[in-house]
Subunit: 200 residues, 2 copies
């Protein structure tokens, strides 16, 4: 006996493809969607199509932006064009913006070097970064890839590529996280925190 | 500084409305959706619209079905029309069908009596159940609402409504779950399991 009408089954399958959504959760989401008024379902479906259609990459920093123009950061006159922060992912831009500390621009690689997964330099937005730096206005490039093996290797690789342009290349500080507990910090982090200690 | 392009923000908001999806998960789902090829995004959005448009309630048992006809269970000649299993939710039909034991028909209430949440008898599909029973072909009504306070109260209420029709009203057996551990069973379940003990 078929339990689900085919259209419902198809919707469940679509939800189950999303990351972190198993079949059980997908069923819950599908039933919830069916329980919404018709207008709201329409808004939901359209916002999916709209987002895909209207969101593009900023031609300068490769961050997500709406339409064909510059992203809000690149378009803003308040942002300092002499500093560029290199991140792996648009989500990382959001994380850094949330700290409300950084006033420079960004460059989004859309990934990290990962030979195991077949991701090489040509698969990342590296050429456009070198193009930006070669114009001579950028004074400092901050490597803000993740502090893991691949992020580290990507930062090392880029740093070697950028040095010939005579630009300053820096890396985010390592150390114990604010609000954390020393007893839970791993050895590598503690070692880096000691190495990087500063006078008070 | 606005971090998200408006179309992306709107998509995140839509995902965040789904049950069990917080803002952080919604962001992950939105980014994943953007990363899909255009055709697949289209399929996803259309399956949402399709499901809402094509799924209706079976005119007999009120279970979800596609189009205007009977649901597969009501349409099947193999199912025994003398037994009706009353459940709160279409999901419960699926759970019971999965057990491959039940050969009768269903009736879906689409909720349970819940005075606290303002759900009274008129908000559930009770009239259509009484209508079915009044036709005289149904011999047994199995109450398969959830074994919680509201499910229990709903079963009691319906049982009282159905008795005048001279129909047999039964309730799912209570007991320890198969594969469970006695030490983790709560007192009420153990008490019911003892009460309902059967000769081996």
């Amino acid at each position: 006996m078929e339990y689900f009408p085919p259209a419902l089954e198809k919707l469940v399958e679509q939800f189950a493809r999303l990351p972190g959504i198993g079949r059980k959760s997908a069923q819950r989401l599908a039933f919830f969607t069916l329980s919404l008024p018709e207008e709201e379902v329409e808004v939901f479906a359209q916002s999916i199509q709209e987002a895909k259609r209207s969101i593009a990459l900023c031609p300068v920093c490769q961050n997500l932006t709406e339409g064909d123009g510059l992203c809000p950061v690149c378009a803003s006159e308040k942002r300092d064009g002499r500093t560029v922060c290199v991140v792996a992912d648009p989500k990382d831009v959001i994380a850094i913006e949330r700290a409300r500390e950084y006033q420079g621009q960004y460059h989004v690689l859309h990934g990290v070097l990962s030979p195991m997964n077949g991701v090489g330099p040509d698969d990342l937005h590296i050429k456009s970064l070198l193009g930006r730096v070669s114009q001579g206005e950028i004074e400092e490039v901050i490597m803000a890839t993740n502090p893991d093996t691949e992020g580290e290797a990507t930062a090392m690789y880029l740093s070697r590529m950028l040095k010939p342009f005579g630009v300053k290349v820096t890396r985010l500080a390592y150390g114990v996280p604010v609000g954390g507990h020393l007893e839970y910090a791993d050895d590598a982090t503690l070692m880096r925190a000691l190495e990087g200690r500063r006078e008070m």
